[in-house]
Symmetry: C2
Subunit: 105 residues, 2 copies
């Protein structure tokens, strides 16, 4: 469930959003985009949770992989619908992961 | 609700976790740590959501601010309790935010 990413450095796309009240069609599109993202070159993993806000962090090998996914034709259509229908606000942050640590029982 | 961060560069701490079944005491400690973090030098904002996994992304001016918060005595006690009592697994990723964009209706 936690993304099993390789040794840094790699990149994270931190996507946070607030939904509008009517989210018809959103869940199906989110599932489709998740499936598509996982097939992209350079995709390393994803972590997602939604309460009052939604947070999706996807991990990528390099900036070129992020750029290619942003330009993907189906993803572009999803981004357009997101702005027009589903999101009240969102923010995308592109970040270089420099260090990680953790534990597992 | 979405963090109102300044122009990049700045830093993100991406903390993702799986809870154990018994989370007694966790919510109160999480609230306390959130309040404390917001008073730290260099703190820029935080975004948090939990479903199957928990994701908390905190934003910081620089690495020294992150190090100082990691060493904070109350925070160290919270980290210890997290490992001993609350988390089945967690991962902390330190990342440099290089670019961000978004929109607001």
């Amino acid at each position: 469930m936690l993304a099993d990413t390789p040794e840094p450095p790699y990149y994270a796309v931190i996507f946070t959003s607030l939904m509008r009240d009517d989210s018809a069609g959103y869940a199906a599109m989110a599932d489709k985009m998740l499936t598509l993202a996982q097939d992209q070159p350079g995709f390393l993993g994803v972590e997602s949770a939604r309460e009052e806000i939604g947070i999706t962090v996807s991990y990528w090998a390099d900036l070129e992989a992020i750029r290619a996914w942003k330009r993907d034709i189906d993803h572009r259509e999803a981004q357009r619908l997101g702005r027009e229908r589903w999101y009240a606000a969102y923010r995308t942050r592109i970040a270089r992961v420099e260090r990680d640590y953790g534990f597992d029982h």
